[in-house]
Amino acid sequence: MRVREGIPLLLEVLKYPERAGGLELTRWDALVRQARVNRMLGTLAHSVRDTGGWSRIPPAPRRHLEWALRLSRTHCAELEWELSCIAEALRPLDTPVVLLKGAAYHVAGLKASAGRLFGDVDLLVERRALGAVEGALMRHGWMNAHHDPYDQRYYRQWMHELPPMQHIQRGTIVDVHHAILPPTARLKTDSRPLFDASVAVEGRPFRVLAREDMVLHGATHLFFSEGEMPHGCRDLVDLYHLVGTAADGEFWRRLQARAAELGLEEPLMLAAYFLDRVMGASLPREVQAWAADAFPGGMRGAVLRGALDSALAVRESHHRTLSGALKEGYLIVRGHRQKMPLPLLVRHLGRKAWIGVFPEKPRGGVDR
């Protein structure tokens, strides 16, 4: 079920970083561009550096990798500062705070974090602690970034997170979640077992999800929200690093069992299907067969496969083709359909369309 025989250069070098040393300059030209366009230059730089072939890379492309390493060092230092500020704000609350996604990969020291740049810090807290967490963050300078009453209601009533909170001085953003899927979504999962299995991070007042749950959350986030596709390939590579590069049958059995417990088999199936198809990841044979078997058939499957092939592909350039844009549009609609039942979705999109055409006057604004 592979897309084609060879895999794109970027994915090949991420899988086998030792091959970087033997590339010609023209191949480096393509590789650096692919990595930059797909937001993985830092990831590439770390992978290549860690395999020791650094000195065999020609100086011109090596410089780009060095630039990326430096940016990722700065990013890590800024993230550390941000985490210490969040820790200080939330420490008095005595409630479990689970880091998600990029920040979690960072504090857990996972390979997926090396060189990865990301904007927001994502937290998971218990629903009953939401108010206290929001208050504590506000007292330490984070403000609600959405002032529109409709947006407030959208997040608070229907979504699995508070409206994004932005720090008034640093401009950094914290997303506070109480679940990994909206309560309105078709897929349902309870947050309790996620907290119960979460792991304390040594030396920090944070927790991270258990490894299996990290994979399931990553897959759910990638395949069941509407806004993730611009960096779909990067997120798929994250999953590749999270599941490990060996065909570890034992880990996958635990993963499948956990997915069944949490009701997240569908995202896991999609993750396995596209890890195999796009990355040629070495999955256990029975997992490959399971994913191929469970992937939707018929027209629906073909459309979904076509759209995700396009969204998860390594981009050569930021330029979008019409067919790419249509497929992305389909995935945005699909993502919304997964998040909300149809009547609510119609209402939400109707409201967005209305505001798009007739923007509300900002309150207290100056008359013109």
Binding site: E24, L25, T26, W28, D29, R33, R36, V37, P58, A60, P61, R63, H64, E66, W67, R70, L71, T74, A77, E316, S317, H318, H319
Partner: protein
């Protein structure tokens, strides 16, 4: 420049330029006439200046700058394509280069003593260095100074000099019309023309220079020439405002600036004509004579 484009070497960097617009191709061949064309298959930045993919391709025609296929700036009227390309290339450098401290500053050098001239637009730094480059100084850059993180050296890419309004006529009077691109009128910055840097400067673009002085220029029509000496702290503050990536370089960037103001003489100059400005710069440079 259609198809795969051409790769031009500028200092230690290289740019792959593509455009389907004939006047852009002609302009690039003219302005980069002294720069080497590279054929080694790798370019640091692949950019294009082309019509947008919208109706503005045909009506009220525009041009778009793209890096790796993404538009970094809003499209501009088509006749501004060449200045747009230069602004875009500046962006490539200051948004990506992280092994140099990138300053918004012009750099010229003579007798192994380089002058770094940081200033906001409109202070006359491009005019000043264009004039100096015609008077035998080596031009390193009119926009971006690249400071090495070790060794206290400064580099430039020696790309075309961007001149505005009255400066265009003054420099044409000195250098003749030949090195200039056609003048583009009514841009955001007024009239703009690009001047090809002298061959000797381009040929030495890969060679770093040793900073000798930092000069903050202020052109004010009609004012009489004056020089004020600045302490290191004042100069540091001024340089910090001109630094693009000091936050990305963190402590290292900070100490590069600190070392620079310690090892350089720092001045503010005010002048009312290009001749006065050049004389002040010569005078500052002369203080380094043994």
């Amino acid at each position: 420049m259609a198809g795969p484009g051409v790769v031009i070497g500028a200092g230690r960097l290289s740019f792959r330029l593509r455009s389907a617009l004939d006047f852009v191709a002609d302009g690039v061949h003219h302005l980069y006439g002294h720069h080497p064309l590279l054929s080694r298959g790798f370019a640091d930045f692949s950019v294009e200046v082309n019509p947008p993919r919208s109706l503005r391709r045909w009506f009220a025609r525009q041009a778009c700058f793209r890096h790796d296929g993404a538009s970094t700036f809003l499209p501009l009227p088509r006749d501004q394509a060449l200045p747009l390309l230069e602004w875009g290339l500046n962006w490539c450098v200051y948004a990506h280069v992280q092994d140099r401290l990138v300053l918004h500053a012009a750099v010229v050098e003579r007798d192994d003593r380089a002058l770094i001239i940081p200033a906001p637009p409109g202070s006359g730094k491009s005019t000043l260095v264009a004039g100096l480059s015609c008077a035998g100084w080596r031009l390193l850059s009119d926009e971006l100074a690249l400071l090495t993180l070790t060794g206290q050296e400064v580099e430039g890419l020696c790309r075309p000099v961007s001149l505005k309004n009255a400066s265009i006529g003054i420099l044409r009077g000195i250098a003749g019309a030949e090195p200039f691109s056609p003048t583009v009128t009514d841009t955001l910055k007024g009239d703009v023309a690009l001047m090809r840097p002298p061959r000797a400067s381009v040929e030495q673009a890969g060679r770093p220079a040793r900073p000798f002085a930092i000069v903050f220029p202020s052109f004010r029509a009609g004012s009489s020439p004056s020089v004020t000496s600045l302490g290191p702290a004042m100069a540091f503050g001024g340089l910090l405002e001109s630094a693009f990536n000091v936050s990305a370089l963190r402590e290292e960037g900070f100490s590069v600036l600190g070392d620079l103001v310690e090892c350089c003489r720092c001045f503010r100059i005010e002048y009312g004509s290009l001749a006065d400005g050049m004389a002040l710069v010569q005078e500052i440079h002369g203080t380094g004579e043994a």
